[in-house]
Amino acid sequence: MLRATDLTQSYGSEQVFRELSLEVDTGEVVAVIGPSGVGKSTLLRTLALALAPDDGTVTLDGTAAWAVDESERLSLRRRIGMVFQEANLFDASVARNVEYGLRVRRSWSDRLRTELHSILSSNGTADAVYESLEVVELADKADQQAGSLSGGEAQRVSFARALAYDPDVLLLDEPTSDLDPRNTAVIEDAIDAARDRGIGVVVATHDMHQAERVADRVAVLLGDTVTETAPTEVIFEDPSDARTRKFISGELVY
């Protein structure tokens, strides 16, 4: 579904990765593992079409994202959701945050009408908002201000916000690296729920155990490219690439 082919990306004069290929299919979880600073975030931002690659292509269901015009790219972008390492919530209520993706997809007249409706009846929150808050077990906090949440709760809201508009692909950039085990478990359950909905998930993580728990396939990003992509158990039990084997066993220290 979402396929990156031979991506090359530089940051200033420094090359982040080269000739990198990655693919995620419907209802599949792909983990991208690799040491910190290897370019996982840059890769995910490129997959999110927030960053144009220096070379290579990103296609969604066969449409090359950087070969089409801005408005068509926007509609491709709108089929992709992304969660960052930090929650990055807006200074508004939880429900308004989760609703954001739905709101920007409406026409301006629709938006105005729903705004007026919510002012008049105080009950304009869409069902999709509660449904995705339920996935992260926070439906009871819909009316709270985002600023009053704990870090873990904020991150869960951030996940719900990306889930609410039912994207085809969900990109998660170290979604649990700042979280305690309980919040991490909720996010990992939510990843399973997303897979069950048929969403293709790419999760970048430096936590190999997490990759083992959630992923169907694992891509190992070492040096400046993906050294190996294989089903999870193959990567962890019988990797074919020598560098991957060293990295998995902890011998390769960056």
Binding site: G81, A92, Y100, G101
Partner: protein, 238 residues
């Protein structure tokens, strides 16, 4: 409350030289001129601040230094410049704006725009890149992202507008020069503001009156502040 009656109990108590409606009329002129000028300034400043925050264009640094210098414009010099602009020989001479409220609005606009632009710019650039990224990956267009930034920066922008309003309503020098501190024959203000009235009363030695007008001015500023702060609080649930 009929505002015309504002002067009567005051003059009854203090034995002040107030005619009916005098205080109300200078208060009205002060408010009218400042509010119109600040509204126009805001309409210009915010788009300029957004453009400066998010895009690169030739001369950006120049605009920035003009804005920063503008915050220190001496108001009498601005008044003088506007007077030349609207005087009979000036480029706007044909519009007969000398000693009118419109001329006062022009000079207050020039004075209020730099602080509103500079403080808004600081507030807008203070909104983290993270929040912009979030709005963008959630499917926002450029306009959506800009709106998110404005909403996140709303307290700073409210401060900017209040700073501009503060500069406008407390301004004496330029409104005196371009407005002329005029009342009509029946004592109703044409271009007299609270500040220029205070200046006049103080020069004539009527200190009680001057202080009273000063109190009115203070209350006015407090009320406007309260309204603007309340308004930006309302924006929490956007």
């Amino acid at each position: 409350m009929p505002l015309e009656s504002l002067g009567q109990p005051l003059s009854a108590v203090f034995d002040l030289p107030f005619r009916d409606g005098y205080v109300w009329s200078i208060t009205y002129v002060s408010l009218y001129v400042s509010l119109v000028a600040v509204t126009l300034s805001t309409l210009v400043s915010i788009p300029v601040a957004i453009t400066m925050a998010f895009s690169e264009f030739p001369g950006k640094q120049f605009v920035k230094s003009v804005v920063n210098t503008g915050m220190g414009f001496p108001s009498v010099v601005v008044g003088l410049a506007v007077l030349f602009l609207v005087s009979n020989q000036g480029p706007l001479g044909s519009m007969n704006l000398v000693f009118t409220r419109e001329a006062m609005i022009i000079s207050q606009f020039v004075l209020a725009t730099p602080p509103i632009t500079a403080i808004s710019l600081a507030a807008i650039t203070g909104v983290g890149k993270n929040v912009r990224d979030a709005a963008r990956v959630l499917g926002g267009t450029r306009l959506d992202v800009a709106l998110v930034v404005l909403k996140e920066a709303r307290y700073g922008i409210a401060t900017a507008i209040l700073a501009g309003f503060g500069r406008a309503i407390s301004e004496v020098g330029s409104v005196l020069i371009v407005g002329g501190n005029i009342t009509s024959a029946d004592g109703i203000s044409k271009t007299r503001t609270l500040t220029t009235a205070i200046q006049l009363e103080a020069r004539q030695g009527r200190y009680e009156t001057a202080m009273l007008l000063g109190a009115v001015l203070l209350v006015l500023v407090l009320v406007v502040n309260a309204v603007v702060v309340r308004f930006s609080d309302q924006g929490v649930n956007w």
